[in-house]
């Protein structure tokens, strides 16, 4: 009794007025409720979806506002803020839908938070609060561990914790029944200089009470009293639990009286604490009595409260009473997530039968037969290793109760996902017994699991199980999931035979064939087809064959196999016969290739077709036509002629053609003309027919004859035909003949075909809209949509409607579902409006894009303000300020500054703090209580110096601090080290690093600083130290920069240190993608290191093997050896140059791999060895055809000065290159960089003489060069900035994504 009364008496004394203010009570109740049963469903335990997340949202806003004034650039806050929103939504949705957060989701949010830079306090809070009862699928110990992991990691990343974080951690402890020492906890807070508040004390009391420690709870109450903190219902409820857990139920009950005496009416929470106390003792009678009492009062229990009582009963081993509580549940729909949480929690606690009882009691609508309920339960049972028999029983009952349509299948899927083979087998047997099919692919996840572990025995076991269950593996099973774990298909065959499960059908042989095809082993395929005796249909081979062809470069084998199929009696002699079958195969082969693939293999395909012709292989006309269309759409019309030679001519007439023959059309045309009837339609048909017959001459004659009746479609076909026949002159003439709008469109379209830009499409569209040419608009849109994607089309249309004042239509367009913001396009239009002063249109743009997905509103308002500034319109600018608030946009600093400028210019008051360019704002936000003034000043000075890149000042400040024994925070040291490294002050950087490491426990450099350190160490030739730094960074799970890793590898290569390169390769294994490291870096540098060691032959052999083996890791067209070549030439390793040259030529001549020889050619040119390059070109003519490699080279070279002469030599050797836009643009850029006006002039004149349409960027560059050289500009200089035209060009080239 004394124990009870002690705290109670305090309470009575607590305030002179025993009645606590109502507001405080409400507040306290809302903030926290204690728990009798700490490990509760999401329920009352506090972080209920709405409550927690709403609070977090408010918190977020406050933080963003504060951050706004701080030193980091605004974009990083925006990133943080938007990341926070993202994380919040994800977690919030999960809780609202399923009553929980899956561990993987929390982990993911945690990981992205860590990667987002320095996580803010609100992000930390969100993560911490998720680690309690919202994770019912985890054991309580795991949850707390998770919380600690988050706590430590974020702290390391620089998150500053305040009291809210400590309180959140306490809550997690309570929910997870984590045993900890409250005094230690308080000590820890004190150490961190954080004052506990009322919530902290309440939670600590609850912690004591949970273990029945009234003594401890009283101590804390004492603290609260001395601090004059109000005592709320939460504290009383905790005391109820405390006494009950101390075995004193009587005093627990008495607390209610004490409360009333203190003027606080016991609420549902207090009764719930009492009910849980009874339940833990298995006292159903008292539970029932109390419930009745509450029912009679005006208090009200929610379902989630009753769920807690159920949990208390079950956990204490009294699940027999669960049904009695279940009866009282009203099953409101909004509590379903709480029920789910409880069910999962019970399964985690191995109380799955009780969980299932609750599941069955859930009121789900059973009318809609397609919706399933209970999957979450089944999945978690599988995770928790519930026995198969039990699961089968649950499935049966779920199905009977019509809660779930396919529980067995679902459980099987879960078992497969968790790779639980025995359970999966048991479930498949059950499925079979129930009459459901057991399909081959059901076994794939099991096989995939064994394959990952290279568990051959496991694979055999699965195959045996399949055999037992009467499921025969198909081709895919063998190829994808069995063969990869064995040395060869042969050994699989042997093992299967041994185990008696080799299939009798020829599936196995076909699988063998396919797997060889995958590896491009055509020699095997040929010998298989030659020796095969089994009946194999051509159709069943087709897929494997085209795959094999595509993966092999041996054209002779392509042809031999095709010939065998065509001529050998075994394969396609049956109707429809070899002509059709092989023709169809060719079609499929080309069809299965992408256009870039066909383009890359054009030469090989040509060889192939020629060889087929030599072998007298024919294909039918109609299939040829299909192939022709394919090649046309792949932009390789030159190949059409080669396929054409294979057509079986004599049968042409017997085949039905859908098109009327041209001769018939011609006579119709003449007849119509004689009768003076319109001939447009027939003329078009005739032109099209002639074009499809590739009869250019006749088509051109016809056009000349009936010029006035020509329609656009006819022109298009003709221009196409001329292009195909390399008749550029006629094609150009044709274009010039078109002068109306439709023609302008045609020209634009054709221009796109040639130069891949769509000139002035916006202007054309605007005119078309003005004139109401709907057909042409449609045509233009179809074209844009097809060539540049639907999104580009929608934007083109949107802008055109805006421009022409058709706002209603514009609105419709921008509201198209799925459309999202394209910042460059929007900016383009904004700039356009600004330069032509179109206020209304720009205002409309801003208005209509308000709801546009991912739209950067601030940027748009910024553009609008820019225009207002030009017009000196401060009233509208002021209105923008209001609109932005209305839309809840947080303006960037630059927007605020612009706005302030407009207002000031008009002598208006500025109604907000203008962010300064420098970080003055820091003053306001610095927390005055934490570090001392001197410290914070020094820290600020240092950061300030770092920001301004004043490394000397920063370092001096560091020394000053060191002298005064002031230790700054790790972020400051990291910034300083980074700056010193950037300025190449290596020794100073090392000194700071050592100081930080000895003064801050666990001090580590971040990714960027470590990368810089590596680069600096390499530069100073401290390779060993650099390697250590790399290792440290990788051990810290950092991602070093690509350049740092590359530099280190290159340095080792020049030292001839192959081992170290291999060591690095091992270290970064699996991270190549994140670092952005191409495997070519290793290949080049390993070879270079070998060459440096005089192992030239080894290096060459390795490279050749990589390029000619069947298991290529890098596609030949990406196999760039330019670095190796350059280094070998630069270092004058003459014998190596010679041998490498021989290798490159051999690869080109024997294996049709042209990339290396072309790279070598370019590197020779680049090193000024023009004669050597020319000789190489003469020996290997194919180099001249590697246009795409050249263009990339041009573009790259033009980025550095001093490359004009290299590009000039390239154009001299490969003159046809000059016509390519990328080439002449790059050359011009180089001339401008090198200020070579004379050469530029020659280039310009050459291009204009050839009637090449030059883009604005090109002209702008040329004009500026001329002006700077004091020469006249022979055309109107494009008025906008370089940036504008560059953007415009990029925009027009942007792929449809």
């Amino acid at each position: 009794m004394a124990a009870l009364l002690r705290p109670a008496r305090w309470l009575l004394q607590a305030g002179a007025d025993p009645r606590l203010p109502l507001s405080l009570r409400l507040l306290a109740g809302g903030l926290s409720r204690p728990h009798a049963a700490p490990c509760l469903p999401a329920a009352r335990a506090g972080p209920v979806a709405g409550g927690l997340l709403n609070q977090a949202r408010l918190y977020a806003v406050a933080v963003e506002k504060k951050n706004y004034l701080q030193e980091e650039p605004a974009s990083s806050h925006r990133r943080n803020a938007s990341h926070f929103d993202w994380a919040l939504t994800r977690l919030d949705n999960s809780v609202r839908r399923t009553g929980r957060i899956p561990k993987t989701l929390l982990q993911k949010v945690f990981d992205t938070t860590c990667h987002s830079g320095s996580p803010g306090g609100n992000q930390a809070l969100l993560l911490l609060r998720s680690c309690g009862s919202l994770l019912p699928e985890l054991q309580v110990s795991e949850r707390t561990e998770f919380a600690h992991r988050i706590w430590d990691k974020l702290q390391k990343l620089g998150t500053v914790y305040d009291v809210s974080h400590y309180n959140a951690l306490l809550k997690v402890y309570l929910q997870n029944e984590h045993k900890f020492s409250p005094t230690d906890f308080l000590a820890k807070m004190e150490e961190a200089n954080i004052q506990p508040n009322r919530v902290t004390y309440q939670r600590l009391i609850a912690a004591y009470c949970n273990v029945g420690d009234i003594e401890g709870a009283s101590k804390i109450l004492g603290f609260m009293k001395t601090k004059d903190l109000p005592v709320t219902e939460a504290v009383f409820s905790a005391l109820v639990t405390g006494h009950a857990r101390a075995g004193d139920i009587e005093n627990a009950e008495n607390i209610l009286t004490v409360m009333k005496d203190a003027g606080i009416e016991p609420g549902p929470d207090t009764y719930l604490a009492l009910l849980n106390a009874y339940a833990e003792k298995g006292d159903i009678d008292r539970v029932k009595q109390t419930l009745e009492k509450v029912e009679k009062s005006d208090l009200y229990f929610m379902d989630r409260d009753l769920f807690q009582i159920i949990f208390s009963f079950s956990k204490a081993g009294y699940s027999q009473y669960v049904p009695e509580i279940l009866e009282k549940i009203t099953y409101e729909r909004r509590y379903i997530p709480d029920a789910m949480n409880l069910i999962l929690l019970l399964v985690t606690e191995k109380l799955e039968d009780t969980a299932f009882q609750i599941l069955l009691a859930c009121p789900v609508s059973r009318e809609d037969s397609l919706s399933d309920f209970g999957s979450f339960f089944l999945r978690h049972c599988v995770t928790m290793n519930t026995p198969a028999e039990k699961l089968k029983d649950y499935c049966k009952k779920l199905k009977e109760s019509q809660m779930h349509t396919s529980p067995l299948q679902f459980t099987l899927q879960s078992a497969l996902l968790a790779n639980k083979t025995d359970l999966a087998k048991a479930l498949m047997k059950a499925l079979k017994e129930e009459g459901f099919p057991v399909r081959t692919h059901y076994f794939w996840p099991l096989l995939a699991g064994h394959q990952k572990k290279k568990d051959v025995q496991g694979i055999v076991e699965v195959l045996k199980a399949m055999h037992e269950m009467g499921v025969s593996p198909d081709q895919e099973t063998y190829v994808n999931y069995v063969f990869p774990s064995f040395d060869s298909a042969r050994s699989v065959r042997a093992v299967l035979q041994e185990n008696g499960c080799l299939p009798e059908s020829n599936v196995f042989s076909q699988a063998e064939l396919r797997s060889e095809a995958v590896n491009g082993n055509l020699a095997y395929i040929l010998s298989f087809l030659e020796s095969n005796t089994q009946p194999l249909s051509f159709a069943s081979l087709r897929g494997s064959l085209s795959l094999g062809f595509r993966r092999s470069m041996d054209i002779n084998l392509w042809s031999k196999i095709t010939e065998l199929l065509y001529k050998d009696g075994r394969y396609c002699q049956e109707p429809p016969g070899p002509t059709e079958a092989v023709g169809y195969f060719l079609y499929n082969l080309i069809d299965s290739m992408s256009d870039s693939e066909v383009q890359a293999k054009e030469e090989r395909l040509r060889q192939y077709f020629h060889q087929l012709k030599e072998m007298n292989i024919k294909i039918p006309e109609n299939i040829y036509r299909g192939i022709r269309n394919l090649l046309d759409s792949y932009h390789v019309p030159e190949l059409i002629k080669d396929v054409n030679t294979l057509v079986e001519r004599e049968k042409i007439d017997s085949r039905k053609t859908t098109q009327l023959p041209s001769s018939l059309l011609e006579s119709t045309l003449e007849k119509l003309q004689a009768e003076n009837q319109p001939i447009g339609d027939v003329l078009k048909q005739l032109i099209l027919a002639l074009c499809s017959e590739e009869n250019m001459q006749k088509a051109l004659e016809l056009k000349a004859k009936y010029e006035s009746d020509m329609v656009v479609g006819g022109y298009a076909a003709l221009i196409n035909l001329c292009c195909r026949h390399d008749n550029a002159e006629d094609a150009l003439n044709l274009k010039q003949e078109l002068d109306d709008l439709g023609a302008a469109l045609e020209v634009a379209i054709d221009c796109h075909a040639k130069y891949k830009v769509l000139p002035r499409i916006h202007d054309i569209l605007c005119k078309l809209i003005d004139k109401g040419e709907t057909d042409l608009i449609q045509k233009a849109m179809n074209f844009v949509s097809q060539e540049q994607g639907e999104m580009t089309m929608l934007y083109d249309l949107f802008f055109a409607f805006l421009q022409t004042g058709n706002y209603k239509e514009a609105k419709k367009i921008i509201e198209t579902p799925g459309i999202r913001a394209r910042s460059t396009r929007l900016q383009w239009f904004c700039d356009r409006c600004i330069s032509s002063n179109q206020v209304e249109i720009l205002e409309k743009l801003v208005e209509l894009t308000q709801k546009l997905f991912e739209c950067d509103r601030d940027q748009l308002y910024y553009s609008l303000l820019k225009l207002y500034k030009i017009n000196g319109d401060w009233q509208r600018a002021d209105a923008v300020w209001n609109k932005m608030q209305e839309e809840n946009i947080i303006p960037r600093a630059k927007t605020l500054r612009l706005l302030a400028e407009i207002l000031r210019n008009s002598n208006q008051e500025v109604p907000f703090d203008v962010p300064e360019l420098w970080y003055e704002g820091e003053k306001h936000s610095l927390n005055s209580s934490s570090p001392s003034r001197a410290e914070s000043n020094i820290q600020k000075d240092l950061l300030n110096a770092c920001q301004q890149k004043k490394s000397k000042d920063a370092y001096a400040t560091f020394l000053k601090a060191q002298k005064q024994n002031i230790v700054l925070n790790s972020e400051t040291y990291s910034s300083l080290i980074k700056l010193l490294l950037e300025k190449d002050s290596f020794l100073e950087a090392v000194q700071v690093k050592e100081f930080a490491e000895t003064h801050i426990k666990g001090f580590t450099l971040n990714d960027a600083a470590n990368s810089l350190l590596i680069i600096t160490q390499v530069r100073r030739d401290y390779l060993k130290e650099a390697l250590t730094t790399l290792k440290t960074a990788l051990d810290l799970e950092q991602i070093p920069s690509r350049i740092a890793v590359t530099r280190l590898i290159q340095a080792y290569a020049l030292k001839g240190d192959v081992e170290s390169i291999q060591a690095i390769q091992k270290m970064v294994d699996g991270l190549e993608h994140s670092i952005g490291l191409s495997s070519m870096v290793f290949i080049n540098n390993t070879a270079l290191a070998q060459i440096k060691n005089n192992n030239i032959d080894v290096a060459i052999e390795n490279i050749e093997n990589m390029l000619t083996s069947e298991n290529q890791t890098v596609e030949p067209q990406y196999f760039g050896l330019a670095y190796l070549f350059r280094k070998v030439i630069e270092e004058q390793l003459e014998p190596a140059v010679e041998k490498i040259s021989i290798m490159a030529e051999r690869l080109a001549n024997q294996f049709a791999v042209y990339k290396p020889v072309t790279d070598l050619f370019l590197q020779l040119l680049d090193s000024g060895k023009v004669d050597d390059a020319r000789a190489l070109l003469q020996r290997c003519g194919a180099i001249a055809e590697q246009t795409s490699i050249f263009l990339v080279f041009c573009i790259r070279s033009s980025r550095r000065p001093g490359k004009a002469s290299t590009l000039k030599s390239l154009l001299e050797l490969i003159p046809e290159l000059i016509e390519k836009e990328e080439a002449y643009t790059s050359v011009m850029k180089s001339y401008v960089l090198d200020k070579d006006a004379v050469s530029a002039k020659a280039l310009y004149e050459y291009l204009t003489a050839r009637n090449i349409k030059l883009n604005d960027l090109f002209l702008k560059r040329y004009a500026v060069l001329l002006k700077n050289a004091g020469e006249p500009v022979p055309f109107t200089e494009p008025p906008e900035s370089f940036e504008f035209y560059a953007k415009q060009l990029k925009e027009s080239r942007e792929n449809p994504l």
Partner: protein, 118 residues
């Protein structure tokens, strides 16, 4: 990345004009033969792809069906409900918009290849 996007877009350009339906939410129990069997009622299925993830042994719930003709495709698209193994699957015209959606998911799973293969 940019290169693969371009390749994907190019592959799209060639396949977009073909009578192809894009199917989503295919239950894990069904594979291409089940899909083919179901859609055969609307016409001749030239090609049916349900790509599997070889790492996991599961497919990702998406597939493509190429019909012989536009009419057959329309037949399939016009039927409101398509039920496969008791589960309603979603069927779309395979056009630019669906390509955009898929490519978002596809980037995550490295599925641009499948688009090219079609």
């Amino acid at each position: 990345m940019a290169a693969s996007a371009v390749r994907g877009a190019v592959a799209l350009r060639t396949s977009v004009s073909r009578p192809v339906a894009f199917v989503r939410k295919i239950p894990w129990t069904a594979a291409s033969s089940e899909l083919r069997e179901h859609f055969a009622q609307f016409g001749h299925v030239r090609k049916c792809t349900v790509p599997f993830d070889k790492e996991t042994g599961f497919h990702r719930g998406m597939g493509w069906i190429q019909f012989s003709s536009e009419e057959e495709l329309q037949n399939a698209l016009q039927q409101e409900n398509h039920i496969l193994d008791g589960v309603k699957v979603n069927i779309f015209l395979y056009n630019i918009m669906s390509f955009l959606c898929i490519s978002l998911v596809g980037q995550k799973y490295g599925m641009t290849r499948t688009l090219g293969d079609l």
